[in-house]
């Protein structure tokens, strides 16, 4: 798998979430995703960016263009924060579970919207969510 | 010692050609027209000789053998389309062995050299023969992919039954990706036509698995979010049993036994009814006229 292009954006205030959505939209169009896949990726990005802001106390997102071994193109998003971390990842991935005031669909829903989903978290250190959509 | 193969073949090109064509006719390549067969053979033999002249090695992987590989691509493709089996297709190359070997026996006196050249020729022809099988398979895969695409287009018509009522008659086995494509086009058409009711008829669907059932439910939910209602009709008894066994919850989804029942409900929900014109008498009149 090779990374052909990357870009990073801060997620510090609410308007940053809107910016991340717009950037992700441009990248999905560039990748040539169908309208439905574009919508799925942007929605997942919106959920994850909000999580980074609300639960992680802010952080960053890295957008990357991927090409895998058989020449398939994809888009990878990595959301990173230095917040309190998630003590029980399986619980956080359960539909309807929320530690804040949300619907508890952010993490579990984003996982369904993307092709690949990975979450690493350490209590007291922060959380890193990696998602990939293949074309 | 330099291989004499190219020189020997070049010198006897027309003789090999006629023997080779005869050999193939004997083996039953009658589905290819005589002209096509001769032009294919002429072309191949010319490229084989050129390849031998240009390339030191007898391995066809190098770029020097590109022209002959392209020629085989075309031959395999043409034969694949004509319905040849892979071995029939490979016969095109293997049938060249007999003419070449007998020629080598005539031309080369030294037995060590004869063995050497025969080995060169056989290894080269074996590779080319195997290559036709690969090319043949690629052609078949292209055909299958194209047919799948065509089937997808063919089998997903969204039809308008009445103003504001759409129907999607699904036919054949549903896999998850096909269901998804069909459902997306249904939702698109709902929006384009402003239809408030869509009937998904699965009379022609032999089986439904969990994924497909879930896609159906997701579509019904998505349509509701858009402001339209879906009715599923034509659920066969076996499918009903499967759905219950799989534990798929169809609550909240309107289901009807037949498309006609579903259409009736759709009409009622849009404030319409179907009545016979003029009642029983005119019915009788029409029958007598017929």
């Amino acid at each position: 798998m090779q990374v052909t292009k990357t870009e990073r954006f801060p997620i510090r205030v609410q308007s940053d979430v809107v910016v991340v959505r717009q950037k992700v939209r441009n990248w999905t169009i560039e990748l040539g995703l169908s309208l439905i896949d574009q919508t799925k990726v942007i929605t997942a990005a919106s959920e994850l960016a909000r999580n980074t802001l609300e639960y992680g106390g802010g952080g960053e997102v890295e957008l990357a263009s991927l090409k895998n071994d058989i020449g398939k193109n994809g888009l990878r998003l990595i959301f990173e924060d230095q917040g309190p971390g998630i003590p029980d990842i399986n619980l956080a991935l359960t539909d309807g579970y929320t530690s804040g005031g949300g619907l508890g669909m952010g993490l579990s829903g984003s996982r369904r919207l993307m092709n690949e989903f990975n979450i690493e978290s350490e209590v007291g250190k922060g959380t890193r969510v990696t998602v990939i959509k293949w074309k | 010692m330099e291989s004499q193969l190219a020189t020997i073949l070049k010198k006897n090109e027309s003789k090999i050609l006629s023997q080779w064509v005869e050999e193939q006719k004997k083996l039953g390549s009658t589905r290819v027209s005589n002209e096509d067969l001769i032009s294919q053979c002429t072309n191949f033999l010319r490229l084989l000789i050129e390849g031998l002249q240009k390339n030191k090695s007898f391995s066809i992987a190098g770029t020097g053998w590109d022209p002959i590989r392209r020629c085989l691509d075309e031959v395999s493709r043409a034969r694949g389309l004509l319905g040849f089996s892979p071995s029939e297709t490979a016969t095109f190359v293997f049938s060249l062995k007999l003419p070449i070997f007998s020629l080598l026996r005539q031309e080369i006196a030294d037995s060590a050299q004869l063995t050497e050249e025969t080995w060169n020729a056989t290894s080269l022809l074996d590779q080319l023969g195997l290559y036709t099988t690969e090319a043949y398979q690629r052609t078949r895969e292209e055909i299958i992919a194209r047919q799948q695409e065509e089937m997808l287009e063919l089998s997903t018509p969204v039809v308008k039954l009445w103003d504001g009522i759409l129907a999607l008659p699904m036919i054949g086995t549903l896999d998850s990706s096909r269901t998804q494509v069909v459902m997306e086009s249904l939702l698109q058409r709902i929006m384009e036509t402003g239809s408030e009711i869509a009937i998904i008829d699965i009379t022609g669907v032999p089986t439904v698995d969990t994924l497909v059932a879930q896609h159906l439910i997701k579509t019904v939910t998505a349509a509701r979010l858009m402001g339209a209602e879906c009715i599923i009709s034509g659920i066969r008894p076996q499918i009903a049993a499967t759905i219950v066994h799989l534990g798929v919850d169809l609550a909240g989804v309107t289901t009807k036994a037949s498309l006609a029942d579903a259409f009736h409900v759709a009409l009622a929900r849009s404030g319409r009814t179907v009545t016979k014109v003029g009642g029983a008498r005119s019915e009788k009149l029409r029958e007598t006229r017929v």
Partner: protein, 143 residues
């Protein structure tokens, strides 16, 4: 301060969301709408989201919130014009927004509101009960 405009059409309120909403704006809309429902004694709220190319869980929650709050204030909410891709994504995300009424466009939404108002004000509910499950989807040709 940036605000989403709320239009009054007779006894209904119409909101057309055309901007890429950040969360504060969504919360503000929710507050503005409930205030306006009370001030104008509106009986129905139409929220046109045909220009939105995504609805995430936050906006979904906001829409559900408006629907249940307006219900308490005796007004019906209809969300209209959701794009197919948005609907599919919402379902995949796990939100079906069960409590929200929907319509294909503003016209249909308006009709849905009018019909349900007529129904609820009609003294003789017999007809409504008989067709209970078809409630408010009738295409009445008199209108």
């Amino acid at each position: 301060m940036e605000r989403i405009p709320i239009l009054k059409l007779g006894s209904f309120l119409l909101v057309t969301i055309q901007v890429d909403m950040h969360d504060e704006l969504a919360v503000r809309l929710q507050d503005d709408l409930t205030t306006k429902i009370v001030d104008s004694s509106a009986r129905g709220v139409l929220i046109d989201i045909s220009a939105l190319d995504i609805v995430d869980s936050f906006i979904g929650r906001m829409l559900a919130g408006i629907a249940s709050m307006s219900k308490i204030l005796d007004a019906q909410t209809v969300v209209v014009g959701m794009q197919p891709a948005v609907a599919i994504t919402l379902v995949e995300l796990g939100l079906s927004l069960d409590g929200i009424k929907t319509a294909l466009n503003v016209d249909r939404g308006m009709k849905l509101l009018r019909d349900s108002l007529e129904l609820s004000e009609d003294e003789n509910l017999a007809a409504g009960e008989a067709n209970g499950e078809f409630e408010s989807i009738h295409a009445s040709d008199e209108n």
